[in-house]
């Protein structure tokens, strides 16, 4: 059986929680383990947050302090999920500023925004928590992150190894 869903939302931090919960609900009927659920939610959260803060540089809503003087980019983030049997494919896309050097951006600890308390671990988490990760980006055009994960295998892959 194939099932597909797509959500498109404003690139503001209020939607980070919404996006990961929507994806979690979409796969809930597969009875994923708690770990699988946490993995998927973390990966979605990383990709969506990257689109908001790096792609569109939308920092309004950062914390709770209202900062009305900050211009909000009208950009949208698109999250698309395709479920084929137990294989989940997630696509997170933005039409923001894009990434100059994707290979470099994906290195653990690499960040262009250390002043925002970013740690450069986002892509490393997506890679660790999903079975497959692909990033396509063009400067000035946007970024698409594609992730794949098999759900319901029940196996716990430890990260220590």
């Amino acid at each position: 059986m194939k099932n597909e869903m797509e959500i498109i939302f404003d690139a503001v931090s209020d939607n980070e929680g919404f996006a990961r919960v929507a994806v979690a609900a979409f796969i809930a009927h597969l009875n994923p383990t708690l770990e699988e659920m946490a993995d998927v939610k973390t990966a979605v959260s990383e990709a969506v947050t990257n689109s908001i803060i790096h792609g569109y540089e939308n920092l309004k809503g950062y914390g709770r302090a209202e900062r009305d003087w900050e211009e909000v980019h009208k950009g949208k983030v698109r999250v698309r999920c395709i479920l084929e049997k137990e294989i989940l494919r997630i696509e997170v896309a933005d039409s923001g500023k894009g990434i100059e050097d994707v290979k470099k951006a994906m290195e653990p600890l690499f960040t262009t925004r250390p002043e925002l308390e970013r740690s450069g671990m986002g892509f490393a988490f997506m890679e660790a928590f999903m079975d497959d990760l692909e990033v396509e980006s063009a400067p000035g055009k946007g970024t698409v992150v594609r992730m794949v994960k098999k759900i319901g295998t029940g196996s716990w892959i430890d990260c220590e190894g």
Binding site: G17, S45, C159
Partner: protein, 115 residues
């Protein structure tokens, strides 16, 4: 979210979900407390936390950098399996000590109720 100073420790009771949306508020508030010179160590309490992404790493690393130069230390309590996994993946477990509620911190449970 709750912030409390016990002895020379800043106790931060983290929210249910730690993401970029929550991070700014936690950092800003924590840093206001850290300006007080009687605060030496920071304890992050994950008891209520059910979700954390890389934003949590930034919060903890940032506070670590601020206090470690004065000899302060960072501790984490009530760390569940998923959060511990994130700690290990990011190398955070090298700078943060995960405590399993030892004697010295036992009193905090009762104090925690009141804040």
């Amino acid at each position: 979210m709750d912030f409390q100073i016990i002895d020379n420790c800043l106790m931060i009771r983290l929210p249910e979900e730690i993401d970029h949306h929550e991070a700014g508020f936690i950092c800003e508030t924590a840093d206001r407390y850290l300006l007080r010179e009687d605060v030496r160590n920071v304890v992050f309490d994950f008891e209520r936390t059910r979700f954390m992404d890389s934003s949590g790493i930034g919060i903890i690393m940032g506070r670590y950098r601020k206090i470690s130069c004065f000899g302060g230390r960072v501790y984490a309590i009530h760390v569940d399996r998923q959060i511990e996994r994130i700690f290990k993946l990011s190398g955070l477990n090298k700078v943060v000590e995960i405590l399993n509620m030892p004697e010295s911190l036992q009193g905090m449970d009762s104090v925690a109720e009141s804040y």
